[in-house]
């Protein structure tokens, strides 16, 4: 006797429409969205596209000749960010699998951290004015030995989007300026601070918080929202999203437009990572099949170098030299590394299931020398450590242990930003 196939399920748009109408009718709004919207809009929404990445603070300093942040000490800074990282001969694209373990650390975690309202930068201690322990959002070291940091806003429901003012400290830790800024960024050396003012104007400040200039990007078709603004050496770039997306590159000194790319066929929805030295940006968008695509684009010429369209590999950033890209997987723990030019796979980092309870893929970062990737893992004993995994050897070693539970650990991006982490 043949099995009876169930009848084809009929479902037409009318039925879907009726259901949606019925579901919508169940929604009840209590109160008023206005106060939170007004409060949020008055504050900074710092939205760094590049997720925080781990770097040994001292290791960042030493290869580039940057002195540790002793108070009042003058730093020697690299000429431009493209010189960051040693020249590394990449191995041929032979995939290496590295396993990150929660092993014995070599010492204390070599990254800055916040504990009890005090920012620990190497041997330097900087008291910060934060209303609560988790009120700290991000920071950057400045060229004059000072620090720029941003607190979270008071709107706890938008904790990770709503930021307080950008506060400028001098090398003695004194507050010298506060600015209401969105999309805050510094150039590599920390001599210039860029951001979007509440008025929507793009502004540039020096390390003391003094306004150097304002400029406006090109007129857009319809209102456009800045989703990204970066100081790139002598230039500044802004990504605007409205009815049409725009990518504007301007001269930081004069505000003169250098490049304007517009249209969904040229500029994608999101700018995910930038490498200034190679003028590269990774953008993300949706293609015709609904699968999101990533494009590696030269933001000066508009040339698209390559792309890939899968939800599996989500890019996080470039190596210091821009010769490889690293990223995470949204649905499983792991980090991948591939060559910028042709996507040749170089390394896969996976957690050791025997020792690792949690793998913090989204806060991975390249090592300052460009030879590997730093990852954070929490062991089954609850201890969080930072491990360094080398591309050429596929070996990982545990560098340091995160501070205790009272501390809010955070991470340094290769280009000078520190961002609150997830641990």
């Amino acid at each position: 006797m043949m099995p009876v196939e169930p009848e084809e399920t009929s479902l037409d748009p009318t039925e879907v429409r009726v259901l949606l109408l019925e579901r919508a009718a169940r929604v009840r709004v209590h109160g008023d969205f206005t106060p939170s919207a007004l409060a949020g809009a008055r504050r900074v929404r710092t939205r760094r596209v590049v997720v925080g990445s781990v770097a040994a603070a001292l290791a960042v300093a030493i290869p580039f000749g940057v002195a540790t942040l002793e108070r009042g000490q003058t730093r020697t800074l690299p000429a431009n960010r493209s010189s960051m990282g040693l020249s590394t001969a990449l191995p041929p694209p032979r995939l290496i699998t590295a396993t990150a373990t929660a092993g014995t650390p070599e010492g204390p975690i070599p990254v800055p951290y916040l504990q009890g309202g005090v920012l620990h930068l190497g041997s330097t201690r900087i008291p910060l004015s934060v209303e609560r322990e988790d009120g700290f959002l991000s920071f950057a070291t400045l060229e004059d030995g000072g620090v720029l940091y941003q607190r979270t806003g008071p709107n706890s429901e938008m904790l990770n989007l709503d930021a307080g003012p950008a506060t400028f400290l001098d090398h003695d830790g004194r507050v010298v300026a506060e600015r209401e800024l969105a999309q805050t960024d510094t150039d590599g050396p920390g001599g210039l601070v860029t951001g979007v003012l509440p008025s929507g104007e793009r502004a540039v400040f020096d390390a003391s918080g003094a306004l150097l200039r304002k400029f406006a990007p090109p007129e857009t078709v319809g209102p456009a929202d800045p989703t990204w603004m970066r100081a790139l050496g002598e230039d500044v770039a802004t990504n605007l999203q409205g009815p049409e997306p725009y990518l504007w590159l301007g001269d930081l000194g004069s505000g003169r437009s250098l490049t304007v790319l517009k249209g969904a066929d040229r500029v994608a929805d999101k700018s995910l990572a930038v490498h200034e030295g190679r003028s590269l940006v990774i953008e993300g968008t949706w293609n015709d099949t609904g699968i999101d695509c990533k494009y590696v684009l030269n933001y000066r010429t508009g040339q698209r170098l390559r792309s890939w369209c899968d939800r599996e590999r989500q890019p996080l950033g470039f190596s210091p030299a821009g010769d490889w890209i690293y990223g995470m997987y949204p649905n499983r723990p792991g980090v991948w590394v591939e060559r910028t030019t042709d996507g040749g796979r170089l390394m896969e980092i996976t957690p050791d299931s025997a020792t690792v309870a949690r793998f913090w893929g989204d806060i991975s970062a390249p090592t300052p020398d460009g030879r590997g990737v730093l990852v954070a893992v929490t062991g089954k004993d609850g201890t969080t450590v930072v491990a360094s995994c080398t591309i050429t050897t596929g070996t990982c070693r545990v560098l340091g242990e995160a501070p205790g539970k009272a501390a809010k650990g955070f991470l340094i991006l290769p280009d000078n930003w520190g961002h609150r982490s997830g641990w």
Binding site: A25, R28, A37, D225, L272, G290
Partner: protein, 172 residues
Amino acid sequence: MGKMRSPRDGGRETDFTAYVRARQDSLTRFAYLVSADPETAKDLVQIALTKAYLRWDRICELDAPDAYIRRIIVNEHTSWWRPAWRRREVTSTPLVELSDRAAADGPTHDADLWAHIARLSPMQRAALVLRYYEDLSEAQTAEYLGCSIGSVKTHTSRAMDRLRSTLKEATA
């Protein structure tokens, strides 16, 4: 909604407040359908209104500020890049709630269908909501989603195919 009056007439904040109070229910219902979750809907509406206020001088001059804000809601939700550490603070009094009928849903066809809709990809669900709830044309939906008309057709047909398929499996 018709064209907003100029902020010069009554003050930017006053205008914005009036708009929010008049439209927040509608925006929230839309956000709930797009996200299939009341807490996410609340977040989306807050984000969209915050962004809107930053640009209110220009938005209030549009013929359809609602459409602009709904587009923000859709874009925020369909963006795959959401910080892994985003925390959701649960307040003592939820701003957005579903009526008791939702909690009392038993295993009905409609409850099943909604559960399957909630499991669609963000883009597929957004396409269904825009096409069948908002009753937008394919061209209008494409403008909302920032994609081609062909993509809208694909998102919509694949969403319906998937719903039919999962309902069929549930019946089998």
